[in-house]
Amino acid sequence: MISLSGMGLAAPFGGLKELRAALDTDAPSAPDHKYRVDTTSLTEFVPARRLRRVDHFTSMTLLAAYRALYDAGYGETLPERMGIVLCTGYGPSETTFDFLDSIIDFGAGCASPLAFSHSVHNIPAAMLAMFLKTPCPCTTLCQLHRPVFTGLLTAQTWLSEERVDTVLLGAVDETTPLLEHTSNQLGRNPVGEGAAFFVLQRQEERTGRTIRLAPAEAPKGLAAREVLQPKVLCGDMPVGAAFALAATAVRVEAGIAAECMEHGALIRVEQA
């Protein structure tokens, strides 16, 4: 098991505080606007002029990551021997379509190299390392099936082989008009977006919190006590389980037993 030292969210409903508040109401309701994350408070952590190259996907990434680090008690100083694992279902979708726009609107000869480079899926994690001024192991996973479970597995692998002492695990997805349109065509729930980050450490090195996590195959017939259907608060997105995981951790911390599931895989959350 690994210990959870901090969490940070950049979600349509806000951050961790808003999540706690939503969990305290009986039936959290969907916002009446589109599921879009407001990242203006990123300037609390980074001066605006450093953000000229930062697209929306990366803004959500940075905001949730900074919040998680602060929540874990880090701020100006970072954990030593850190690594970054970022999981996503769609990758940076807005810049992907920006690049396609540039080809369609102006012809391949005028395709934007700037948009292309930002659409490369490991760029948000690389930019996070750059903003934190921390050369470190950095990996991005992209899949619709079990992205969060797999990200957690990789974090655990890195911690147990002592590649790093702390993993900053993030789960990020971004919506675009095309994804909304397509999901509508397919008769799916409204597409959402958001970023959730977790500061993870080996158990013996944890910094205060008492929550432990472990990815595991779900035992047959398990009736999981799930806390939150993330769809309601964030919209439908491949990494939705990350928000369910955050909610589960909040509940467990308050002494309520709960589990988090992702496509039949179990993420155990318990008090240390």
Binding site: L100, I104, S117, V120, H121, Q143, T150
Partner: protein
Amino acid sequence: MRPVSPVAVLGAECICAAGPTLDTCMESMLQGGHGPASPTLFACEQPEPFPVFEAADFTPGPGEDKYSRTVQLLLHTTRMAFAKAGITPDALEGLRVGVCIGTSVGASLNFLDYYKRQKQNGDLELAAIHTYVRSNPATALARRYGFTGPAQAVVNACSSGTDAIGMGAAWVRQNLCDLVVAGGADELSEISYNGFARLMITSPEQCRPFDKNRKGLNLGEGAGVLLLASERTVAKLRGSVPAQVLGYGTCSDAHHLTAPHPEAFGLERAVNDALAQSGLGCGDIGFINVHGTGTANNDPVEGFLLKKLFKDTPFVATKGYTGHTLGAAGAMEAVLTVAGLEQGILPACHGFSETDPNIGLAPVARATKTSARFALSQSLAFGGNNSAIVLKRGDA
């Protein structure tokens, strides 16, 4: 990093422009290979054409039309790898088989035609979306074979394949899996073709890794896989072990979005971590498969580190035969490194003829025999990512 135990390679295969199997690739490379050509998979709409390496002699397997070309290439190579290792699907029953695959194009929302139609308010045919949903390389491979272990798609751009092998080996070591299909796959895509062209790093002619007159990279496509297994699995399958995966290292420069750190900061740490996990020093490495894209930026950075750590170690650059296959590159080069160790021969660097005085080092310029026991394969990527793995000859 502390040393870790070696992980057995039960089989290694690849497909690329040089051939549809590892044996045909090696044969073609040792005979001098052939150069890139104009793309046939899509129309080139750049003002100047850039030649590419498309996979040769390839037809998708039966029932595989519903997948992306990336997945088709991956399934082909995986099938070859199991066949060559003498492993039939029923022998895998009851084993926890994981899948760890690097890709770049293979996980992107590159719906160019679909999007174009949507922008023009045309009819929306969802076929492209359905193909995308079923074509995540790791998930598709796991489902095709019914594997029950973890399935992970690594998207670290041009180092993805190396990373996937490093992480897959850790899964075996940590007893999360009995066997892991680890590697990488990427088809040649119109999207990356235009992106790389406009970044002005593609060459209008055959790429020339480490050459004084290099003009950029040639894109390519392909897939490469290693079958990684625990000792127990090797015994159960009675497999032979042509090579072992030792250490893996990875480090992001945190320096620039697209350019590597000029003094190879992250690459040095990646190489040092890979060596430390292997319990080896620089002097133990018999040869290196470098990233060697042939771009103005990449080769001097690698050269800088080679001079610092591996001044007299022979190094091979294979992209002159394969093109740069992005997410597949690290995996294909690991497979070629296994072949180099096993067959004791290194192919000449195709495209190289004159040493760049700014680099001051030359890759292997003609087919060269080697008795190396250990080899290093390294990859550099967008975002300043750097990764390296160490491989060991099976009988050594």
